[in-house]
Symmetry: C2
Subunit: 337 residues, 2 copies
DNA sequence: GGCACCTTTGGGAACGTTCCCACCGTACAT
DNA sequence: ATGTACGGTGGGAACGTTCCCAAAGGTGCC
């Protein structure tokens, strides 16, 4: 069953009484076709339930109508899952109106990275979406060198040459700090993200800027961590040891903030009475911590949608200048501050 | 740059001083090649950095070395995200050793379902993985009819004809109930999942079986809900209204259990003193509720890995009998019971 | 020494498209 | 009436691979 041979463009052409080329033109929406021929072809297509073979098409056009979304698997674990789910959803939305397929690549180790390079080399995808890039990540450079359209969510550094989209990390962090100051907090520490990632540096920068801008002294109130919950706990412990008098913490991610909450409770500090806590991302986690977490919302789904859109544009016109988009953040105030 | 034409199999053949076919044989691991020829070909491949064009290969072999993972987007939202992340990770693991690519399809609405049908019709994938199937889902039947290898995580009903993998829903639920009875609970209610899904029915069945098996009366202690947190809250409210004396609840998912916890607290019941709560899945959520949630762990990543493996087998041998695997669950006891 | 057989090899065809180009009318300007 | 232009059309070639088949070269046996 289903063994009946699929119709090809030739079958359709014969049925419609026209040539292959005319059928191809109808399919691809060329307007150099008479209404009569077009009608005949469309009828034949419907009758035969013809669907063009995209592999054959890909062979001659050397386009595959598919893009790859690359996610470092180490970071798809732990608490950062909601981020990736949202990005995936956004990308899928951005692709919805097109016939572009989404290929998901979880990069686990060097072996899979090689495999990915092959995938790319063999031109199985028209472009690549990269998420969660580190400063020393070899992949972006590799893709750039191969001339394959590439868009990053985030960036390697502030002078990123590839197209990229990210949220206003510094601005969001600064808003969080100003909110804490407005609430009368005196000593505002921060749990920063990895400093080999621009997100990490950007949020730390925003925190520092807001403090110095208000004439405060940020020294000694930074604990650099790794975006994990355990990391957040350890960082909070360090901060409490270094600055027992702190009355507020800005964590560069919700997950780390959740860890911080655990450590604060363990040490008998009340939130928000003794210490106010603000996170970053406004993932579902923020609504479920105890107490619910004030957080800087970043439009993750929109980031996904945007990188997809930008990539499609870049595929369509590879010579267009690279894009660099910053999406706004918004402070969502809850009980923790 | 990178504009230098990619080498084809012809280039390699010329460089190695052999015919196209010999190169093809070396690439595909045929043993009808002399050692000398093989060495020459391998050298040429390395020298030219040749990578076979998989699109061209796909055209002639009508295999694409890629499979689709289909996820209903409505269910990728809400709290069920950790489930999908884990499945994706598992599938990716199951594919790691092969050159099979993973295509992710989020099905939002009818339009995208049509698009998916096209994708499948046009043979852009060798097989399909289906997650979270409902009893009346048209897709599985469609795929079956097209003769495309398909594996389900879950099943439409207990007499599923397609290959499928699921965890021991009834057994896990029964274990949860027995645990609650062992803790001395007298009135054990349940928040069940959608009854048009086998997971929902299976877990409800396990709960009922364990109770009647112990000579207890399960009547009137069921609230059917929808796997969402809000649904869990509403169901809990209904149960408390119907049976104010209940002292335990088994929820068919962690997310619904989290909702139940909220409602219990709202109504001033202490957990676990007044009411014990057990969830199902043991996702990250379980570790983060207040109090931490006792839950039936299902090996989600392993499910993903297994469906991938089974699908690959089915693609390799389409006439092999369909598989039906049940993976064991394990009760993880925490503070909520 | 000839015949059959097996190993190794390479060229032709095919997969289903799109693109290039040449062709045929018809209409319009000269 | 002839030339020019252009909308519409279809056939040939190409994309890069695999598969089929035929042929070349060697080996062993009668």
């Amino acid at each position: 069953m289903g063994g009946r041979q699929r119709p090809t463009i030739k079958t359709v052409a014969a049925r419609a009484g026209v040539g292959r080329t005319t059928v191809s033109r109808v399919i691809n929406g060329s307007d150099l076709v008479s209404d009569k021929a077009r009608a005949a072809v469309l009828a034949a297509i419907a009758e035969l339930k013809y669907v063009p073979n995209s592999v054959a098409r890909g062979l001659v056009t050397s386009r595959t109508d598919s893009i790859a979304l690359v996610i470092p698997e180490s970071e798809s674990r732990l608490g950062s899952e909601p981020y990736f789910s949202a990005v995936i959803r956004g990308v899928s939305t951005g692709l919805a109106a097109t016939r572009t397929q989404l290929q998901l690549v979880l990069v686990r180790d060097q072996g899979e990275l090689d495999q990915l390079t092959d995938t790319v080399a063999t031109r199985r995808v028209d472009g690549v979406l990269l998420v969660s890039v580190h400063a020393d990540d070899p992949l972006p450079g590799l893709l750039e060198e191969m001339g394959l359209p590439t868009v990053l969510a985030g960036r390697r550094s502030s002078c990123e040459s590839l197209s990229h989209v990210h949220s206003d990390n510094a601005g969001g962090a600064a808003a969080a700090v100003r909110h804490l100051m407005a609430r009368g907090r005196r000593t505002i520490a921060t749990i920063a993200g990895p400093q080999d990632m621009d997100v990490g540096r950007g949020r730390l920068g925003g925190w520092r800027e807001a403090l110095t801008g208000a004439g405060r002294e940020p020294d000694g109130l930074v604990a650099v961590s790794d975006f994990t919950e355990e990391g957040g706990e350890r960082a909070m412990a360090r901060l409490l040891a270094d600055a027992p008098g702190l009355d507020a913490v800005f964590a560069a991610s919700d997950v780390m903030a959740a860890g911080a909450l655990l450590e604060l409770r363990r040490q008998g500090r009340r939130v928000p009475e003794d210490v106010a806590v603000v996170g970053f991302e406004d993932s579902i986690i923020a609504r479920h911590t105890n107490p619910p977490l004030t957080s800087v919302r970043q439009p993750v789904e929109e980031i996904g949608e945007t990188i997809a859109r930008v990539l499609l544009e870049e595929i369509a016109d590879p010579d267009a200048p690279r894009r660099h988009l910053v999406l706004p953040t918004e402070l969502i105030v809850r009980a923790s501050s």
